[in-house]
Amino acid sequence: MILDPKVMQFGGSLIAILVLAGIAWGMRLGGKSALADEAAVARAATEVQDGFEPVRTSIARGGSAALARDDSGRIMVIKRHGNRFAGRILTRAARVREEVDGLVVDPGEASFGSVHLSLNDPAYWADAINRL
């Protein structure tokens, strides 16, 4: 069987990119960032929304996510994305569900996904988000 050169080129390229990504994984590039303290949350928050200054924050155990509220009442959810962070300011479309060890926050944006947070104060945040 003789394959079309373009098909072979596509196949070769596909293998090459999988190998490159595999090498990046094998070299353990990236690592995992963590939100260690309130300052880290503040930095991540202002990257999501310039000028967002948290007055109250809660960091999920392990530092993979956080919730932050500013003095105007806006609530932001921040999640680890790869070894960076991404976040959303929650709107009325947001949904929150309490679980045994924390909260599941859904910003209402399917592509962003729900964020699971193991928190010490889930009730406060569930109430605050439900009031939006």
Partner: protein
């Protein structure tokens, strides 16, 4: 007629350079790469070659038609006119500046170009994060004047290929600054890091392809500062490694806005800048920058001292 695609020959060099940068990253900055992000970027590159094969013929056909109406004729053996190659390269780079600027300032164009910016990382794999949907914008219009002047479409494809190859190596954090004379004239890693930044100071700056002089000339140049760490990506980070969402998210958002908008505003959602909304509920890059400036204005001498000194929670070189 030359049958030559420079980018095809450059692919092995791209692979070697990415491997070398990964080794650098392992030794110096492991966080510069993220395997899933790298896979998405490389898949973008592969997909863009398929999109080019599928749709590139449309642009080529249009250019060949327009070429029939050229003002100047370099002759049947136009490829032997050596100086025309140099002139074409420079004018094509000027064209690139404007089509790139339009790519950031017109949402229809941004819908295709945002792909190149959606990584929160800045490394050589990011350079390969090329659009799949460029054919569905009006970027071709920027090239037609060159064809009308008399530059053959094949010549433009070749010089455009070299332009693209040049831009590959500037997508890195491994190189700090080039010599001053080089930074003054050429696009460099430093200048292009600014272009990929989401810091309000840097938004919509440094559109250059090869020659940074266009930005200096047209007022869009911004130098990289050592006291402000760059954060990469887009203003509203995707938060997803889904390839198809990464490719089409802005098209979906834009068309949804057009669908929902009152009739008199529908066209504006195509032709105005990203972030514009008819009810003022969103922010453009100009609005973000102005709000940032206003905020900094309320903090006296904020720009006079390094960020790390005025903001004790930020470690050195963190963005304010």
């Amino acid at each position: 007629m030359p049958d030559f695609q420079p980018t095809q020959y450059a692919v092995p060099l791209f692979v070697i350079a990415i491997l070398a940068e990964m080794v650098w990253s392992r030794l110096r900055a492991p966080e510069a790469y993220e395997p899933r992000d790298t896979l998405v970027s490389l898949a973008f590159g592969l997909g863009s070659t398929i999109a080019g094969a599928l749709f590139g013929g449309l642009s080529a056909a249009a250019m060949i038609v327009v070429y029939e109406y050229r003002i100047f004729d370099f002759g049947d053996q136009w490829w032997t006119v050596w100086w025309a190659w140099s002139v074409a390269f420079v004018i094509d780079d000027l064209k690139y500046y404007w089509v790139h600027r339009a790519g950031h300032r017109i949402r229809w164009m941004w819908a295709a170009h945002v792909n190149h910016h959606s990584s929160q990382h800045y490394n050589l794999s990011t350079a390969l994060r090329q659009t799949w949907t460029g054919t569905f914008t009006f970027g071709l219009l920027f090239a037609l004047p060159m064809v009308l002047i008399g530059f053959h479409p094949v010549m433009l494809a070749i010089v455009g290929g070299f332009n693209l190859i040049y831009q590959f190596w500037i997508h890195t954090e491994a190189i700090d600054r080039m010599p001053r004379w080089f930074e003054a004239v050429m696009n460099t890693p430093s200048h292009h890091r600014v272009h990929h930044a989401t810091n309000p100071r840097y938004l919509d700056r440094n559109y250059a392809g090869v020659f940074i002089v266009w930005d200096r000339l047209f007022g869009t140049f911004e130098p990289e500062r050592d006291d402000e760490a760059i954060r990469y990506g887009i203003v509203k980070q995707l938060g997803s490694f889904n390839l198809l969402w990464s490719v089409f998210h802005e098209w979906i958002g834009m068309l949804g806005d057009v669908w929902r908008a009152p009739w008199r505003h529908k066209l504006s959602y195509l032709l105005r800048e990203p972030g514009w909304s008819h009810d003022g509920s969103r922010e453009t890059s100009d609005m973000l920058r102005q709000r940032w400036k206003d905020r900094m204005g309320h903090e006296p001498a904020a720009l006079a001292v390094p960020v790390a000194n005025r903001n004790p929670i930020a470690p050195p070189t963190e963005a304010a």
